[in-house]
């Protein structure tokens, strides 16, 4: 930890103003939500922005609104604590509330925001270290070195830093859409498409863009969901394997929709391929659940850049996928 580097602090009151500042400052500006990730990272020397732009005074980013036509709209500035305790959200999307409640600890959730969790930087033993620490050996790819040191053999030219936000797999399982605003205008994309899979630049935010919120579509109501998180201790820790499963059951227990998303086992949230093809129109039985678990296990590519054995984290994905299916199948009966 070093003293917080000096920076200019700005607190615009409108999104337009914020976008203008961001456009002018470019890469030298970092956006501040609750600060629970940015501030410790700055104190570790990972970021040294010239300007810190706080979103807290901007009207509308604190919105948490449900409508039967537009779905659930959550502003980037909503704290995780508010999400976790909001009665409507808990009733309509219990999996989302569950996932939020698994983030860090209660005191951190009081400060941390949805936008911050969505834009959480990827993490790695070689990256989340001080400058002095990093200077003891070759730099890693994410900070300008030649190779990803956490990659198999340490020779990959792609960064494998791990994506470890808890809320995102649940939101992707619920087909959430994310809105990005820049000076030039705004765009909306599937949250799944927001993540690049490149640990060095984990998301699709372009210079000048601000993530302003997500929408969970109204037709997601009625989906059954489950989020299971594996971490070493029972609180505080980031996920080192996480499973978010969303299922819709039709008549007589037939699966009409299925989405499975993994967290903590790759450089992005992994939407497991083949799940819908495997299960939609089928009933859940042991063999199909096992096949789904195998697909999930295969899709997980944990690296030796965080706690836990890689093989065990794959095993956890397998087991948690099985449990998530079994839990929801039980619920559906």
């Amino acid at each position: 930890m070093i003293p917080l580097p000096k920076f200019r602090y700005v607190e615009p009151t409108t999104l337009a103003e914020a976008a203008a500042i961001l456009a002018a400052e470019g890469e030298d500006c970092q956006i501040l939500g609750g600060g629970t990730d940015l501030v410790p990272s700055m104190r570790q020397g990972i970021f040294a922005p010239k300007t810190v732009l706080s979103l807290q005074a901007i009207d509308g980013l604190g919105r948490l609104e449900w409508s039967e036509s537009d779905g659930l709209s959550i502003g980037a500035g909503v704290t995780l604590r508010r999400l976790e305790t909001d009665a409507t959200l808990r009733k309509l999307f219990p999996m989302l509330a569950q996932a939020v409640s698994e983030v860090a600890s209660p005191s951190i959730r009081h400060m941390a925001t949805l936008g911050g969790n969505l834009c959480l930087d990827t993490r790695c033993y070689y990256y989340n270290q001080s400058e002095d620490w990093k200077a003891c050996s070759d730099l890693c790819l994410k900070v300008g070195g030649e190779f990803c040191k956490a990659s198999p053999g340490g020779k990959a030219k792609k960064c494998f830093a791990v994506f470890s936000a808890d809320v995102v797999p649940a939101l992707i399982a619920l087909k959430a859409q994310v809105t990005l605003v820049a000076k030039e205008g705004e765009r909306t994309l599937d949250l799944a498409a927001f993540y690049s899979g490149d640990g060095a630049r984990p998301n699709a935010l372009k210079p000048g863009e601000i993530l302003t919120g997500v929408v969970v579509p109204a037709d997601r109501v009625g989906i059954k969901g489950s989020y299971l998180k594996y971490r070493i201790r029972q609180t505080i820790d980031y996920p080192i394997a996480g499973v978010a499963l969303a299922l819709r059951f039709g008549a007589s227990g037939v699966v009409s929709e299925a989405r499975l998303v993994l967290g903590g086992v790759a450089s992005k949230p992994v939407l497991v391929k083949g799940i819908a093809e495997l299960l939609e129109g089928q009933t859940l039985d042991r063999a199909r659940i096992e096949r789904a678990a195998q697909l999930a296990r295969k899709a997980a590519i944990p690296q030796a850049n965080t706690a836990g054995q890689r093989a065990h984290r794959k095993q956890m994905i397998h087991e948690f996928t099985t449990r998530a299916f079994e839990d929801l199948a039980r619920e559906a009966r």
Binding site: G308, A311, H312
Partner: protein, 768 residues
Amino acid sequence: MNKLNEYAVIGKKTTKTDAVAKVTGGARFATDIYLPNMLWAKVLRSPVPHARILRIDTEKAKKLDGVKAVLTAADVPEARYGALVLDMGMFARGKVRYIGEAVAAVAAVNEEIALAALKLIEVAYEPLPAVFDPLEAIKPGAPILHEDLKSYKTLFERTDKAMTGNVNYQAEITSGDLEAGFAQSDYIFEDSYEVPKQHPSYMEPNSTVALVDSDGRLVIHNTTQRPHINQAILSSLLGIPIAKIRVVPCHVGGGFGGKNRTLTEPTAAALALKTRQPVRLTFSHEEEFTSATTRHSGVMVMKTGVKKDGTLVASDVKLYYDCGAYAPTPNAVWLGAISSSGAYRIPHCRVEAYSIYTNKMMGGAFRGYGAPQSNFARESQMDRIARELKIDPIELRLKNCLVEGDSLHTGQKLHSVKVKETLLKARELSGWGKGRVPANRTLGVACGIFACGGFATSGIVRLNMDGTATVATGAMDMGQGLRTVMGQIAAEELGMAAEDVTVIIGDTDSTPFDVGIFGDRGTHTAGMAVQMAAQDARKQLVEQAAFAFKTTPNNIVLGGGKARLASDPDKVLDYKDLLGGGQYKKGGPIIGKASINLTETAFDPAIVRGAASRMFSTYTFATHIVEIEVDPKTGVVRVPKTYAVHDCGTVVNPDGLRGQIIGGLATGLGYALYEGVAFENGQVQNPSFLECRPPTAVDMPEIVFDTVEEFDEKGPFGAKGVGNVSVINMAPAIANAVETATGVRVTSLPITPGKIVQGLGQLAKEEA
């Protein structure tokens, strides 16, 4: 004999003296000190595990505006320090031996400039081959860390193997006839166990503010468990007489053994002497995890011979403890050797214990002090023996456990031994073997022994004119509640209320010598000195009362802040009336004092070679039974409940005792399941609380506490300690429960879910 019912203060609920200050945020810690003109110090550290220093150029740093001093080894006396092996100087001299070693230090007007100055210091290194594994380091041809090892000063009786190659401290214990013992055994068990380094995880980093006062004396405000030893070390390193140094510790934000050392003090002092300005040096949390000290990692090889009926006959133990690049307190290796036979009677024993240099951060003192390692091996193997011989694990322990009058493998005859009673009580409380445990839970047991008390200490008790008392002890309170307990002991002895006694700790100007708080010395040893000093004061007070009543001292009864006549209890004098009188007071003011050393008998050299101490005052014992839940598919272990039964002698402060046990179990739980400093090429990979993972409150079990009634003749009012033994049983108890639940024996710490699942054969080979 325990006389708990007769005491007015001992054993009674007494609020900790610092409770209000801590809860309200008023307690002052070393990092709270800001003085006018104070400079900020920062340390330049080695980025390489092993290298020759070819050149250090500090000129550019010195020229930076705001920099007041830059020091390297060339600027300070060539003196070394250490508890047993004097191997470390203030700065690396000629060589660096681990990543994180201090190479230079800067004092500047603010933190930013100090950090900027570090970047301007140029150091040229010539890399040397490094060694990171203690078993590699003792092989012929391994890179040698300290070429001049033999010439270093040591404070123990060297064995042939000590101070050669990469071995610094070494001890050997032989009792009975090992070969004959194995020949008599029906079964021989041989196992190897491995443990990582564990950081003490005190929340407050090491910190010192040093200054030179107007009399030219060096004053140190710091966070420490041993102010008087700090003072002596500063004297030897800086060449200043002890009386010209004053150490004034602040409240300690956790020590756990980790602050039983001297790290920030010499550097801050040298910079203050150079600049004549106050200098503050506070470690970053990263420095705590790379450049402070941890529990020694190591390998324990244990060969044990047993009769068919479970009687332990012979034990051959080899302890290879990795002390890192320097050995500030290899005493942990000695204490590990003592605890390595467990709380058992084993007639034929050999222990070889090694403290081995590697190019890693230092191993030092940490709660449990050498025993968590060896007891993990001993108590894991005891369960393996029980399983093989089909004997109940508690029955096996009861059959072999030490009893009053037995001798330890070191030849020390034991008194106040109630380990058997702790086993019986824990068995009863937990419902062991009674089928009371829920179906998804499994019990595991471990018991243990730890040396308690000893070494030099002293106490002073002054009676004040208003009938109150001021107690001074050089022993430190690092949050464990020592001040409260010292006050209770003096109050009981003097017949006063606890709140009428004020305890001064730490300040070397106003307190008498104590060697430091470690090894369960606080209540037992420092408390004994305070009790004896109080007895001295009491005797003088009785004489005063006898004079006042014109009677003989044996006719005086003290209690409740009053003296009365035994022959006529209505004749009463308040202490304040006895002690008043100011300048005309008969006989002058009352000052009681005591200086003691409870460690005066040497071990028999025919049994012990390389002893790092004399015989300990006494020993503490405990049995812990854990109730665990293991998920057989994921390997995740939770510990919802723990039964902790201690033989700690008389309980002086019941809440303090519980607090100590909770803390000990937390450290033991983290050691068992979560923690461990990870290294890659000698570099710490996880230098943070987030990645080193001490347990949180959520991870802690419900604890069922109990003690066995015991009176230790050498402790104040019969008290022993509890701080260390409370740490050493969790890891083996959990490992034992895991094997009962899953059939998987985990022989290395931490017991990760991955190891359990791997043991169950559920990890795909290509993935493992």
